[in-house]
């Protein structure tokens, strides 16, 4: 990124950066309507916090590198091209009068745009120019009443990079100078080729050394002013001056203007088709998350030490859900984002369903989907990172808490916006291209865009490359809309096929729901059968295992209840084979029983059992009979033994294998946790770690009310500062009026006149503003700097130029130039303006 040495050579000791620039820009800002300032602050919210104290400091901030970069990052390709055109054309301060730029001139010089009629291009460029003006990236330097003189704001050229529009950063005249090209007719062979290579940028190339023809051509070009040799660290390179480049380009700034984002050449699908697919995907997503929750309810996976989900658990999940691992990771992330599962924080930790799950499961499909979709949209998680490998080759796990990014939610919005505004169906690559056009200076990473797109497809927000009805409603709601168009639940309901309460039962033990089952019916077939086929209808098969499962789950209870439930939903009767199957399962089911007990009593004599059961003193132990000679109790063995002892029964304590354990010493012992039988490990569901956040996305940018408040304050403070400055300058008219009370708003304390109150500032923003002013007025300032050892040094200097974080100034007393880093400047106090004869130089101690 070398700058041509020549221009620095030109600059030393030459005229400083023209005074009118910085001041005029802040004056122009001051001259704007309040509403325009409000709009500026809303569009560039970084300018409003902390709130600027004066217009000048606002201007300084607005032209600072950081803020300009941020503003440029928001511009789309076309806006950047237009801005480049302004920056490149208006760069010559001396030739200002020669090119008064208006939009038409810029557009005329833009270049060709495929398939876009000139009128459309002009109006697009106009609108864009207006926006750039609003953003204070372009400003009108003309006096009010004169025709507009639009130019790029200070700092823009710096931020646009070393070669804006592929031209060498213009320092001099940038009017296309056709005269310059005149000698080309006699150019040696190869000269044209060299020029062509550099014409559209980048304008710097390595000078040929070997081939004699090229060397000769280069020499000739340099001689005729068409090329310049670079020196110093760029020795061996040549550059194409901007005017020459522009002339070669025929006066056009850009070769290929792109006023609209790229649109793939595909026909759009019918809305009904897209909606149908979206509905299908949405249902499927809800089902997958439901299955995941149920699976992890019974068998919660362990949380890795790093906080994520283990590879083996992911594989198990993928198998169970019948999807690939990447999709399984997405489903898990969805559940996490919606706070349906969470790390339970125990030792060891597992992922378990949260307390939100029950309410969610009881909801309708559309409501459940809306919860998932909203959570996804607002989530800052980056699920696409899971199942990839990092630099060391280690697998990144799903649900890793480190996989978040502040820009994730914003990216999702942007991707959906791209889908919403595209007339043709998109693939992930197309979305990437659109985003590359929309924010070329801040292109999101490809895998992130692809990951977001995949997430949108999984949820059915996007289907067949198009934003579906429910997806559009989701987006509208997030944008703050209301009413039918912004209700994702209603939108999905409209798109799903009607629910069906019918179950067709057949003699081959299959059942078919000819449509989307109602919640009750879905629950019933889910419990009692295995699903064989999904789609518009649901086919299930009843097997001994599935029916037993239903009976065991207790939801069906016994055979009669289950059969009654089936009969309720079926036309006709339950086929005999199925009825027999259910009764058979019920018959087998009760035969093996499992229960929990803390200890047991085993006796030889059944009569003892009866006596224990009857003994009131033993009731507290919860003794109940398991078999003719076995009883179980709800208290630990030692306690049971003690209770029996107090009832006059001396019992021997035995271990797992029936061997008597010696108990003469009364040392307390407990069965190690691993051997404890009957203890349930999975406790109650975990409360979510945060209160469910507001699901609607916040509006980007600054709220209107806040911006207005900032502008209000700014005006009043600025007015005071202005008046103050005029007074200090010795403005006669103003001298007549009493000095404005700068502290009026803050408690009424009047600073005494002439007191050693520093008029200057330590505020960095204002500091730059004061320096700019001083440069413009060519006045003196008292500069307090801090040297490397931290010792403050005060000097009176006349600032010359402020750029790249450094101030060049002249010390009139020593007639020496000095350069100071801006961050070392502690205080700036403006002195009176010229002539230096005025005895107003005050060196004040800070």
């Amino acid at each position: 990124m070398a700058r041509p040495d020549r221009s620095t050579a030109r600059r030393t000791g030459a005229a400083p950066v023209p005074p009118s620039d910085a001041l005029s820009f802040s004056e122009a800002l001051r001259g704007r309507e309040d509403a325009a300032l409000v709009a500026l602050l809303r569009a560039r919210p970084d300018l409003a916090s902390p709130s600027p104290s004066t217009i000048r400091s606002l201007a300084a901030r607005a032209t600072g590198r950081a803020s300009v970069d941020r503003a440029l990052a928001e511009l789309d390709t076309f806006a950047l091209q237009v801005l480049e055109a302004f920056a490149v054309r208006g760069a010559d301060p001396h030739d200002r009068a020669a090119h008064v730029l208006d939009v038409a001139a810029v557009v005329g010089g833009l270049g060709p745009a495929d398939d876009v009629p000139v009128d459309d291009l002009t109006s697009a460029a106009s609108a864009t120019a207006d926006r750039l003006v609003l953003l204070a990236l372009v400003w009108d330097a003309a006096a009010p009443g004169s025709p507009p003189d639009l130019r790029a704001a200070p700092g823009v050229l710096d931020s646009l990079g070393p070669y804006p529009a592929g031209l060498l950063a213009p320092e001099g005249a940038t009017a296309p100078d056709d005269a310059v090209l005149a000698p080309l007719d006699d150019a040696p062979p190869g000269a044209r080729a060299i020029l062509d290579a550099l014409t559209w940028g980048p304008p710097v190339g390595v000078a040929p050394r070997a081939e004699s023809r090229a060397v000769e051509a280069t020499r000739w070009l340099v001689e005729h002013g068409l090329l310049e040799r670079l020196a110093g660290e760029d020795a061996g390179r040549v550059s194409l001056p901007a005017p020459v480049a522009l002339a070669l380009r025929g006066g056009l700034t850009h070769r290929d203007v792109r006023p609209t984002p790229p649109v793939p050449d595909r026909t759009a699908h019918a809305a009904a088709t897209v909606d149908a697919e979206a509905g299908r995907a949405a249902e499927e997503a809800v089902r997958l998350v439901t299955d995941l929750v149920r699976l992890w309810e019974q068998a919660p996976p362990v949380v890795l030490r790093t906080g994520g989900l283990g590879a083996r658990d992911l594989r198990r999940l993928a198998l169970r859900l019948d999807v690939d691992e990447q999709a399984a990771a997405q489903v898990a992330e969805l559940a996490l984002a919606a706070e349906l599962v969470a790390d339970d924080g125990e030792v060891p930790a597992s992922f378990v369903p949260t307390t939100l799950v029950d309410a969610w499961l009881a909801d309708d499909v559309a409501d459940r989907w809306a919860d998932l979709a909203r959570a996804w949209l607002a989530s800052s998680r980056t699920p696409w990172v899971a199942t990839t490998r990092d630099a060391a080759g280690a697998l990144r796990s799903a649900l890793d808490p480190a996989h978040t990014a502040g820009w994730a939610a914003r990216l999702r919005r942007t991707v959906l916006d791209a889908a919403a505004s595209s007339p043709a169906p998109l693939t992930a690559d197309d979305v990437q291209d659109v985003l590359a056009w929309t924010t070329p200076r801040a292109v999101p990473p490809r895998d992130a865009v692809a990951g977001v797109w995949r997430g949108a497809e999984l949820l059915g927000v996007v289907a067949l490359g198009t934003l579906g009805g429910p997806g559009a409603a989701l987006l509208a709601e997030a944008d703050g809309g209301s009413g039918d168009g912004a209700d994702p639940v209603a939108a999905l309901d409209a798109v799903l096929p009607p629910e069906v309460d019918d179950l067709l039962l057949q003699g081959d033990l299959t059942g078919i729901v000819p449509g989307r089952p109602t919640r009750d019916l879905a629950r019933l077939v889910d419990d009692a059968a295995t699903v064989e086929s999904r789609g518009g209808a649901l086919t299930v098969r009843f097997t001994l295992e599935s029916v037993t499962r239903a009976l065991a789950a207790g939801s069906a209870g016994d055979a009669d209840t289950l059969l009654a439930a089936l009969a309720r939903h079926t036309r006709g009767t339950v086929p005999q084979p199925l009825e027999y199957l259910v009764r058979d399962a019920a018959r087998r089911f009760g035969r093996v029983r499992v229960g929990a007990a803390l200890s047991y009593v085993r006796v030889d004599d059944p009569a003892l059992v009866a006596s224990f059961l009857a003994d009131p003193a033993l009731r507290a132990t919860g003794l109940h009979q398991l078999g003719p000679t076995v009883l179980a109790a709800h208290v630990p063995a030692a306690e049971l033994r003690a209770a029996l002892a107090s009832s006059g029964v001396s019992a021997a304590l035995e271990d797992d294998e029936g061997r008597t354990v010696s108990t003469e010493t009364d040392r307390p012992r407990t069965v190690p946790p691993g051997r404890r039988r009957g203890r349930s490990r999975y406790g109650a569901p975990v409360a979510p770690t945060s209160v469910p956040a507001e699901r609607a996305a916040r509006a980007a940018g600054l709220a209107a009310a806040r911006a207005e408040a900032v502008v209000g304050e700014l005006r009043s403070r600025d007015a005071l500062a202005q008046a103050d400055a005029s007074w200090r300058r010795g403005d006669g008219a103003v001298l007549a009026t009493p000095r404005p009370d700068a502290e009026a708003g803050s408690g009424g304390r009047r600073p005494p006149r002439g007191a050693s109150q520093a008029r200057g500032t330590t505020e960095p923003g204002d500091l730059l503003g004061l320096l700019h002013d001083a440069i413009a007025e060519q006045s003196l300032v008292s500069l307090e700097t801090v040297d490397a050892r931290g010792v403050p040094v005060t000097r009176t200097v006349r600032p010359l130029r402020l750029e790249g974080g450094r101030l060049r100034a002249v010390d009139p007393a020593r007639d020496a130039e000095l350069t100071v880093a801006v961050h070392r400047i502690a205080r700036v106090v403006p002195q009176a303006a010229r002539p230096p004869a005025a005895p107003t130089t005050r060196t004040e101690d800070a």
Partner: protein, 550 residues
């Protein structure tokens, strides 16, 4: 699109609701490209497979027609990816063609060079193809025609076989409909087969597949080779052909273990063809003996593996496969299709029953509880013995008796797997026994006696699984079978499905030991029939007892 009879599932199955007013129409529309998988009482399941779609292409249907048929009758929006998949699959057909080159003979021609390259690069086509004539054409070894077609299907680039058929030696054959005629579905089956060139006809047991074969022979009017499963069956075919066609006894030869006659119409057994002596197939010359115009494979679901390779040479001739149950437990149905031809005709059993051509049948599973002693023996037995123990439970004898007592007037067959059990049963019931050891002559005699009603009950082993024609058998009791074989179950049911003169319902009983592998196998076996609409009613053996007592 709303309220149609068809529901298209994402897994490429099509559900047809039988009671819907448009069901018949929809069925006709999807039959050309969808395979009937199951036909229970309310909803029939069809499946879209690449092979089925390619056959539709071969028959002249294109993707638009298929998509239109799906969308016209579908109740809900058809999943878009499925439609795209259908179109893409069908587009793969016909990129390769088998044609007869005037100088090089059988060649493989491609309309898409990239496809040919891909196919040639595959290891599977090695050895089947000869020299490359030009960029788009490759010679095919004529004997590998069938094999190549199979391989191409597997590679996903099915070839359109335009190489035509060898006509074969002409021989007059005509049906002689004197007092009888072909039933509508039989005519339909013959037409479908003829129109398709070669293929498989699937009809329920007792629906008259032999006549379909005869009809095809009449259409072809050429020398015909008929391959059957056993000698008894061969004799049955001969009798039927003599009765129904213009063929005389002299024109039909039998080529089996016993006889070696080669005549214009020759009936051979699979067994004799696959006989090897000193590692060589001794009877392969049969295949070249005459210029056969038509080859008929009876019970094609039983096509032994060697035949798959061996009869490839017959690829140039029309081939007809006949069966009632094209399901194999080894999953090789696809090989049958690619070697003989695709399914040309299929009819749900219940439809044929509704038309009155096969007897209505009731299937019952009688569950027998094993006594404690046997239960303990079962629980502690080796896994390979478990089925035998369970299925030969002694209690079954009593159950068989009880069942027969319920049907005092009916001719009954008792069928089983284990010879000891069958011996016991035969003694118990005082009925004759036919096993593999019984001579052919003795079998014929017993079958004839059964037919005339001289014998009322017959105990048979699995030799009687197929082909034997006992029209008056109206009760079959199965005590054991070949583990989980669905096709055996269906074939056994088939023994009693010939329509009875008085229209009575046929009964099929499977006696099963509860809570054993016998029950598990039974569940699997019954699946095919259940899917055809023959749901089993399950009855406890104890209830039978009570019924009889009461």
């Amino acid at each position: 699109m709303t309220d149609g009879p068809l529901i298209v599932q994402s897994d490429k199955t099509l559900l047809l609701e039988v009671d819907h007013p448009q069901a018949a129409e929809a069925r006709r529309a999807i039959a050309p490209f969808a395979e009937l998988e199951r036909a229970p009482e309310h909803v029939h399941t069809y499946r879209l497979t690449p092979l089925g779609l390619w056959n539709a292409r071969a028959a002249g249907h294109d993707a638009e027609q298929v998509v239109a048929a799906l969308m016209d009758y579908s109740r809900y929006p058809v999943p878009h990816p499925l439609l795209v998949d259908v179109a893409e699959t069908m587009a793969r057909y016909g990129r390769l063609q088998l044609v007869k080159h005037p100088t090089h003979g059988l060649v493989l021609q491609s309309l898409d060079r990239a496809v040919l390259t891909e196919v040639l690069r595959s290891k599977r086509t090695a050895g089947l193809l000869g020299e490359r004539i030009d960029e788009d054409t490759v010679v095919v070894h004529p004997s590998e025609r069938g094999h190549l077609k199979q391989v191409l299907v597997k590679l996903g680039w099915p070839a359109e076989d335009l190489a035509g058929y060898v006509d074969g030696e002409h021989h007059d054959i005509a049906l002689t409909p004197d007092g009888w005629e072909l039933r509508p579905y039989q005519e339909h089956a013959v037409e479908s087969f003829w129109h398709g060139g070669s293929g498989v006809v699937v009809l329920p047991c007792g629906a008259g597949k032999t006549l379909v074969g005869a009809g095809a022979m009449a259409k072809s009017s050429t020398t015909t080779l008929i391959l059957v499963t056993n000698t008894v069956s061969a004799r049955q075919w001969k009798d039927e052909l003599v009765k129904r066609t213009s063929l005389t006894e002299d024109e039909i030869g039998e080529y089996s273990g016993a006889r070696k006659e080669i005549k214009p119409v020759t009936i051979a057994t699979y067994q004799v063809l696959t006989t090897k002596r000193k590692g060589v197939y001794t009877h392969l010359e049969l295949l070249d003996a005459r210029d056969w115009g038509l080859v008929v494979y009876d019970e094609v679901h039983l096509l032994p593996a060697p035949i798959f390779r061996m009869t490839a040479d017959l690829q140039a001739r029309r081939r007809l496969g006949l069966t009632a149950t094209l399901v194999r437990e080894d999953g090789r149905e696809d090989e049958v299709f690619s070697l003989i031809g695709p399914k040309r005709f299929d009819a749900p059993w219940k439809d044929i029953e509704a038309q009155g051509y096969i007897a209505p049948a009731e299937c019952v599973e009688v569950r027998l509880t094993l006594p404690d002693g046997e239960r303990m023996a079962y629980a502690t037995a080796e896994p390979e013995d478990k089925y035998r123990l369970a299925s030969s439970a002694s209690g079954k004898n009593r159950v068989v008796e009880q069942i027969l007592a319920r049907h005092p007037e009916d001719q009954a067959l008792v069928i089983g797997q284990y010879i000891d059990q069958l011996h016991e049963l035969a003694e118990h019931l005082d009925a004759p026994l036919i096993t593999g050891e019984t001579t052919v002559r003795e079998r014929q005699r017993l079958f004839d006696a059964f037919r005339t009603g001289e014998i009322q009950h017959l105990v048979v082993s699995k030799v009687a699984n197929f082909s034997i024609d006992l029209p008056e058998a109206s009760v079959a009791i199965q005590v054991s079978g070949s583990f989980g074989s669905r096709q055996e179950e269906a074939q056994r049911l088939g023994r009693v499905m010939r329509p009875k003169h008085d229209g009575r319902t046929a009964h099929f009983y499977a006696v099963v030991a509860r809570d054993t592998v016998d029950q598990d196998f039974a569940a699997h076996r019954q699946r095919f029939l259940a899917e055809q609409g023959y749901a089993y009613r399950i009855v406890d053996a104890e209830d039978l007892e009570a019924e009889l007592a009461g």
